[in-house]
Structure formats: C-alpha cells, structure tokens
Symmetry: C2
Subunit: 254 residues, 2 copies
C-alpha cells in the first residue's frame, strides 16, 4: 500500500478523534511512567495521551514516515519512532499501551495482543480500538463492486476478514489479565451526502481496493461504488446521511 | 407494576453506572445553572451530575417514593421530587436534562423528547440513554417463555416494542437542535453464570413478566427462563458468561 495521506485523514479529525477519547476515558490509570501509542498516525491520539498523562514519557510508533513527520510537528512533547505494530513488544516500565484504529490491519492481532499484555508489568493497561464495520454497507459494497468489475482479478486479496467474536478476544486476553472490558460503540456520523460517505472511507477502508487500480479503473470503480452507496444510505429529513460505524474497544489490565 | 427495589437494583451498581458516565462524558457543557435528572432512581446518576456540575442546582425526579427516599439519603446535595417522565417539561434556566435508562418505559417518548428539547433555552442539552436490548436473547426468551406457558394470557401485554431506528430519533430531534449525536454502545458484562444473567434482568426487563404472576407461576417461569438463558449464553473459557447489552445514547444541543 502507498504511504498514508495525513491531509485526507485529517479532514474528519474531530469525528475520528472521538473513538480515541472514548477509549482513553476507560483506561483505569491516573498516572503512568511510560505510555506508548502504537500506530500513532498523525499524532491525534498521541496528543490526547500527552494531555491525560502529565509527566509521563509518551512515545508514538508508526510505520509511515509521512505520518511520523506530521506527528512530530504536531506533538513536540512526545517522542516518535518507526516500529511495526505486528512485532513490537512493550519494555518494562510501560504502563499504558494504546492502539487506536491500527490492529484491524494486522490479521494476526489475536496472537499479538496477548503477547503484548503478557509482557506488561502488573497493573499496566492495554487499550485497543478497532473499526468493526466489515458487515456495514460501506464495506459489503466495496467487495461487491470489486467482484463485479473488470478489476476482479486485481482486487482478489483486497477484502479483509471480519473481526472475531467478543468472546474470542475475552478468551485470548483473560489468562494474562486481572480484568478485561470489551464493548462496541456504533457511531452515526451525520455527513453531507453519499459522496461524503465515499470520501470518509477513501482514506482508510477503500485504499486496498483503489491502490491496485490504474487511474481509469479507479474512476470507474468510484463511480459505481458511489452509486451503490447513495442507494444504501438514504438521506434523513434534513438531507444529511447517517453513516453507521461500529468499533470494537478492548481494555485489559495486566 | 409494584414499587422498585433499590437493593436488587444496587447489586450491579458499578456496571450499571458506566452508561450514565458514558452519557455524561458527551454532554458538551462545562457549567450549568440547573440540571435535572429525569427518572433518577436511587440517585446513582444524580451523584455523577452533582460531581460534574459544581455549583449547579441539581434536581432528581422519579415516580417511585422508595427510589426517591434512597436518593435523598445518598445525595444530600441534590433536591428530589416526584414527577412523571412522560409529562414533565423543563422550566427556563435548565441547562441539562439528563435521562438515564428511563425513557424505554415511556412508549410515547418520541413525542416527549422533542417537546422537552423545544422547551429548553439555546445551548441547553438533552442527554438520554436507553437500553436497546429487546432483540437480545435475554428479552427474546422472556417473550418465548411468556407465550409458551399456562400464563400466556396474563402476560399478553408484558413485551415492549423495540426502539425505533436511529434515523427516526435524528429526524424527530433535529428540527429543535443545533446538533444531535446518536450512538449505541454494546456492553459485555462478564457475569458469574447464567443465573447471574437472570438476576441482572430481574430488577428491570423481567419485572413486567414476573409481576402479574402468583408465586408458583413465578417459580416455574424463572426455572424455564433460566434453562433457556443457560443454553443461549455459553460460558467463556474461564467459566464466566458475557452478557451482551446494547444501549442507545442521544445527546441534543438546543
């Protein structure tokens, strides 16, 4: 996948920051020595961690140099480094591992997260949020358009598997946890119209479908996808379109 | 329905208070003149409001004298009064109307809530949380057991209708709101066993099914209901049972 665009991603910053705030609100620690933001992106969530854990060493990790550069500019109080969320493990002294909207991209995260939790000191917290929207029209329609077009062969591997059940996460984390909290929040974003729904997923879920295409294919894919989105998301009375967006939250205390 | 039991209700106080805290966290006001807790119950949510809005006049309303007595003992800093959530309207100077787990009992709340919102001053906030769990096994099985037993005629009116769609709430409130936020959170409560699931709903959703029955019927109903609950909620690996519990949240700014 090509490098992420901080500008497209930042367009929906307010709406996108709420899940990170909701996750942080459930982290049962008043203080921390070291806080790590795994998959920090442009630093939105890192900024929240710096505000919440005054005096802590806050570290942001990402694989994208563009995102890290943006994050450094935005949050000078934190440190940033390149690291892979699939293999990184916390060192002793880390009191909070925070991973906002990153582990849905790591298919083996059901093995990774218990390993991270096991590596933490007693009382430290692993806090994870992942979009769980692959059964929503936005994502079902991506797959339908991918399968129906002349690009079907190119896009064969683009669709991800849905997240496992809540009980699966509970069973994987509980052996290493004093306490595990698991919940979904289903947000409803009131967007201007169907085109705004497409813009919303363009920066994230749609990328594996668009990146393999050439310019002509991309235009045709987007046109067909937008048509189907408009049919699946009828407008509310004031003309706006409610984008239903479920996310899974995990908070485990070592 | 007979009067509520503060003791049974309080047994799950911590778990039950989280939705109120989650709702309060999204109320976009730092200060308030007057805050009203509609359907305050034993004062759990009123206590949160007193902590959050220092200096505000906080008023708790309920129809149950037993709940009001318990609330007065628990939260001496607030005022409490008997009032019906279906007809009460806020007076001018009210900056927050808070209604935690009450309006699911008021079938006409889709008319009541816009009326309350319309009565508020500009910038005041209506914040509502309702269980939206009538499609969960806990509630589907109540209806099944009610329909299948010798008590079917007695329990004909016990089941409530599911909540309307999110768009329905959006359309009803938007004409009176600067901003409307709507979301569901689906909690997963790790309970000891199937019997604990039954205990959980006994204080709330099961009451309209148990109250019309005599003692013998009640025992037989609970036995059959517990059997079905045990089958519908298999244990996690550590033996605990995850009770999925969806709730709808509404925050509207006048």
């Amino acid at each position: 996948m090509s490098d992420w665009s901080p500008e497209v991603y930042g367009r929906f910053e307010d709406e996108r920051t709420r899940p990170a705030r909701d996750l942080l609100a459930q982290v049962p620690r008043a203080e921390a020595r070291r806080v790590v933001d795994v998959g920090c992106g442009p630093g939105n969530s890192t900024e929240l961690l710096v505000e919440r854990f005054v005096g802590a060493e806050v570290v942001g990790l990402d694989t994208s140099p563009a995102m890290l550069a943006e994050a450094r500019r935005r949050v000078p109080a934190a440190h940033f480094a390149e690291a892979d969320a699939a293999t990184w493990l916390p060192e002793s002294g880390t009191d909070v591992v925070f991973a906002n909207a990153i582990y849905q991209w790591v298919p083996e995260h059901l093995a990774v997260l218990p390993r991270q939790l096991a590596a933490l000191d007693a009382g430290a917290v692993l806090a994870v949020q992942m979009p769980d929207n692959l059964a929503e029209p936005t994502h079902v329609l991506m797959k339908e358009v991918a399968a129906a077009g002349p690009w079907a062969a190119k896009l064969r591997g683009a669709a991800r598997d849905p997240l496992p059940s809540v009980t699966t996460y509970y069973d994987a984390l509980k052996p290493f946890a004093r306490r595990v909290e698991l919940w979904h929040t289903v947000y409803n974003h009131a967007l201007a119209d169907a085109a705004a729904v497409v813009e919303w997923v363009k920066g994230t879920g749609l990328r594996p479908f668009l990146d393999p295409l050439d310019d002509g294919e991309r235009g045709a894919f987007l046109e067909e996808y937008t048509r189907r989105i408009a049919a699946a998301y009828p407008a509310a009375r004031d003309g706006r379109v409610l984008l239903r967006f479920p996310r899974l939250f995990v908070v485990a205390v070592r």
